[in-house]
C-alpha cells in the first residue's frame, strides 16, 4: 500500500493552495455577504488551467488525474465554499459528462471552452418536483422533425448565468417497462425560450451562482443529445458518482478550515487564567475533529484513486461524500462552539464555514440518498 501523492499531485496542490490563499480567501467574506459571483477569479483559474485538470490536452485540458483535481477542490474549498462549489460543479457536472459521453464534435465544440475556462459548465437535473427522485423528471423533450422541443422547469442549477451551454435532462418517452426514458441535451444558454434567473436567497455558498431555468419550446438539433439516447439516466448517475467525490473534497476543505481555525484559537484564547485548549472538554472536540477529517481524507482520496484506476467507485464515492459532508458540518459546528461568541460573529468566518458546509449534505444527493446507494451496493434487498 502506498499513501503518497506523486510529485505532480503535490505541485498542483501547493500551487492551488498558494493561489487560493492569496486570491480567493481575501474576498470570501465579501462575496458571501453581497452574494456576488467572483467571475474574475474564475478567469484566473481558467488561465492557470484549473478548470481543465482532469481532461486531456487535445480537449483544452491539462492532462491531470482525478486525484489532482480533488486536491484542487479541497484547497479552493478551504479558502471559500462558494468558489469551491461553482468550481466543482463546473468541472464535475458541467464538463465531465461531455468528456465521458460526448461525440468527438461535441467535445471539440463544447468541452474545449469549458476546459480552458472560457465558459463555465452547468448541469440541470433537479426540478421543483424531482429532487432525490430524479427518475420523476417532468421536463419533456419531443422529437419534431430533426429537432427536439423541450419544455419544463429546473431549479437550483449552479453556474447557468455564467455558462455558454447547460446540460439539461428531459424525458423523451417510456421504456418497455413503462419507466421514463431520460436523456441529456446540450442547450445553449442564449436559446430562444430559455429563461435563466438567479433570485434565490441562500443560507450558504451565497457567492455561488444558483439559478432557475424555465424552458418554453426550446429547440435543440437532434445531434445535440448527449451520448446514448437510451442510456441518459445511467449516464447522469455516473456523472453524479464522480461529482460526489468533488463535493466530498469540498466538504473536507471547509471542515479543515474550521478545524485549523479552532485549533489555533484554542492556543490563543485564555479563560480562567488558562488557554482554553488546555481544557479536556475542548481537547476532546479537537481530537474528534482531527480524527474525522483524517478518516474523511482517506476515503475521499481513495475514491478518487479508484476512479483514476478505472475501478468501480460508486460505493466509495457515496461513502466519501456522506462521511466527509457530515464530518465537515460537525467540525464547523464544534469550531463555532470553541470560538464562543466570537464564532457567532461574521468576522471570524466560522459561521460562514458552517452555513457553507451544510449544503454538502444536500447537493448531489442528500445524506439519505448516499445511504440508499451504499445499502444497494452492499446487497440489501430492494
Amino acid at each position: 500500500m502506498d499513501f503518497s501523492f506523486s510529485k505532480e499531485q503535490l505541485m498542483i496542490r501547493d500551487m492551488v493552495r498558494d493561489f487560493a490563499q492569496k486570491e480567493i480567501a481575501p474576498i470570501a467574506e465579501e462575496i458571501d455577504r453581497t452574494e456576488r459571483f467572483p467571475i474574475e477569479n474564475f478567469k484566473k483559474m481558467g488561465e492557470l488551467g484549473l478548470l481543465g485538470i482532469p481532461f486531456p490536452e487535445e480537449y483544452g485540458g491539462s492532462g491531470g488525474d482525478t486525484l489532482s483535481y480533488i486536491l484542487a477542490v479541497e484547497e479552493i474549498g478551504k479558502a471559500c465554499g462558494s468558489t469551491g462549489l461553482s468550481y466543482a460543479a463546473a468541472v464535475s457536472l458541467g464538463a465531465s459528462p461531455l468528456y465521458a459521453f460526448g461525440t468527438e464534435e461535441q467535445k471539440k465544440e463544447h468541452l474545449v471552452p469549458l476546459a480552458k475556462g472560457e465558459s463555465l459548465g452547468a448541469f440541470g437535473l433537479t426540478e421543483p418536483n424531482a429532487g432525490s427522485d430524479a427518475g420523476g423528471t417532468r421536463t419533456k423533450a419531443e422529437l419534431k422533425g430533426d429537432k427536439y422541443v423541450i419544455n419544463g422547469e429546473k431549479c437550483w442549477i449552479t453556474n447557468a448565468s455564467f455558462a455558454r451551454t447547460v446540460i439539461v435532462t428531459a424525458v423523451t418517452g417510456k421504456d418497455d417497462r413503462g419507466k421514463n426514458k431520460i436523456s441529456a441535451f446540450i442547450v445553449p444558454t442564449d436559446s430562444p425560450g430559455l429563461t435563466i434567473r438567479s433570485e434565490y436567497e441562500k443560507m450558504g455558498v451565497r457567492g455561488s451562482n444558483t439559478t432557475e431555468l424555465v424552458l418554453e419550446d426550446v429547440e435543440v438539433p437532434e445531434e445535440d443529445i448527449l451520448g446514448d439516447p437510451s442510456k441518459g439516466f445511467n449516464q447522469f448517475l455516473y456523472t453524479l458518482d464522480g461529482g460526489r467525490i468533488s463535493i466530498a473534497a469540498l466538504a473536507l476543505g471547509i471542515g479543515k478550515a474550521a478545524y485549523e481555525a479552532a485549533l489555533q484559537y484554542s492556543n490563543e484564547r485564555k479563560q480562567f487564567g488558562k488557554l482554553i485548549g488546555s481544557f479536556q472538554a475542548i481537547q476532546f472536540k479537537l481530537a474528534d475533529m482531527a480524527m474525522e477529517l483524517e478518516l474523511a481524507s482517506n476515503m475521499v482520496y481513495k475514491a478518487a484513486w479508484l476512479k483514476d484506476q478505472k475501478k468501480p467507485f460508486k460505493k466509495e464515492a457515496a461513502m466519501a461524500k456522506l462521511f466527509a459532508s457530515e464530518s465537515a458540518t460537525r467540525a464547523c459546528n464544534q469550531a463555532l462552539q470553541i470560538h464562543g461568541g466570537y464564532g457567532y460573529m461574521r468576522e471570524y468566518h466560522i459561521e460562514r464555514y458552517l452555513r457553507d458546509a451544510k449544503l454538502m449534505e444536500i447537493g448531489e444527493g442528500t445524506s439519505e440518498i448516499q445511504r440508499l446507494v451504499i445499502a444497494r451496493e452492499i446487497g440489501c434487498p430492494r
Binding site: K7, E8, L10, M11, I12, D14, M15, D18, F19, E47, L48, G49, L50, G52, I53, E57, S62, G63, G64
Partner: protein
C-alpha cells in the same frame, strides 16, 4: 542569453519550526523554494522571454529538492541541474559556493540570478562569494534590471534607499522583494515540467573531493527566539508614566 538561477529548497519559515537537540526537525515541516529565489526564477524567465536563450536552474542539495526544482521548471525554466551534497560534512555557505563555482567554471553564463538571502540560514553570502570566485561582477539586492548590448541597468535596494548602477555582463545578481511578482506555475506548466531535463551531478562529476568543500563554520548552538510575553501597560499620570517608561527602557530592557 545563457541565464542561470541558483536556487535552494528551504523549510517554510511561515510554518511552525521545531528544534530538537540543536537540529531543525524536518519531519512535518513544509518545504518550499526559497522565496527570494522565486523572484530570481521569475526574472530569469522574463529576461529569456525578452532576449531569447535558455534558463537553467542550479540547486545544491539532496534528492528531496527535486520537487522545488520541478516547480521552477513548471514556472517556465528550461532545464535544471541538481548537485547532490549528501557527502559533504558540515556543509555551510562556503561548501555551497565552492560546489557552485566548480560547476560554473565550465559554463558560459551571461547572467546568474539568485536570491538576496535564503530564509533559513539568512547569510546572503553564496551569491557574492560565487561571483568573486568566478571573477565576475555582482550586484546584490536588486529591485529592477534591464539588459541591453551586454550591459545591465540595475536598481538596487540599499536599506530602503535606491542605488542605480550600470554594469557589464557577465554578471551575478541577487533578487530582493519587489523585483517582480512571481507567477503561479500553471497546470500545463506542471505537466510539462515532468518532461524537462533535470541532470543530477555529484562531487565526483565536478572533480571535487569531500574535504575540499567541507564546511568552515561551526554551529555552536541553535535555539528559537523566546516566547513573546504579555505586554506591560503603564498606569497613572502621564508624567509618571513617561518617567517609568524611560527607567524601564534603561534598566529592564537595557536598550537606552
Amino acid at each position: 542569453m545563457n541565464i542561470y538561477v541558483i536556487m535552494k529548497r528551504t523549510f517554510d519559515t511561515e510554518e511552525k519550526i521545531q528544534i530538537d537537540s540543536g537540529e531543525i526537525v524536518e519531519d512535518g515541516a513544509e518545504f518550499i523554494i526559497n522565496p527570494y529565489d522565486e523572484y530570481a526564477i521569475e526574472e530569469a524567465i522574463q529576461l529569456r522571454d525578452e532576449h531569447g536563450g535558455e534558463v537553467t536552474l542550479v540547486s545544491v542539495g539532496d534528492e528531496e529538492a527535486e520537487k522545488q526544482i520541478r516547480t521552477g521548471l513548471a514556472m517556465g525554466a528550461d532545464k535544471a541541474v541538481l548537485i547532490e551534497d549528501e557527502d559533504v560534512e558540515n556543509g555551510d555557505q562556503f561548501s555551497t559556493e565552492a560546489i557552485l563555482a566548480a560547476y560554473f567554471k565550465d559554463q558560459e553564463a551571461d547572467i546568474i540570478l539568485g536570491g538576496n538571502i535564503a530564509v533559513d540560514g539568512g547569510s546572503g553570502q553564496v551569491g557574492p562569494r560565487l561571483a568573486e570566485n568566478l571573477g565576475i561582477n555582482h550586484v546584490t539586492s536588486i529591485v529592477n534590471i534591464e539588459i541591453e548590448d551586454g550591459k545591465a541597468k540595475i536598481e538596487r535596494d540599499v536599506e530602503g534607499d535606491q542605488e542605480f548602477i550600470e554594469i557589464s555582463l557577465p554578471l551575478l545578481v541577487t533578487a530582493q522583494q519587489g523585483l517582480n511578482e512571481p507567477r503561479y506555475p500553471s497546470l500545463p506548466g506542471i505537466m510539462k515540467a515532468k518532461k524537462k531535463p533535470l541532470e543530477t551531478l555529484d562531487l565526483d562529476d565536478l572533480d571535487l573531493d569531500e574535504d575540499e568543500v567541507e564546511g568552515k563554520t561551526n554551529t555552536v548552538e541553535r535555539y528559537l527566539p523566546p516566547e513573546k510575553e504579555a505586554g506591560k501597560i503603564l498606569e497613572g499620570e502621564i508624567d509618571d508614566q513617561v518617567n517609568e517608561l524611560v527607567s524601564l527602557l534603561k534598566n529592564e530592557a537595557k536598550v537606552i
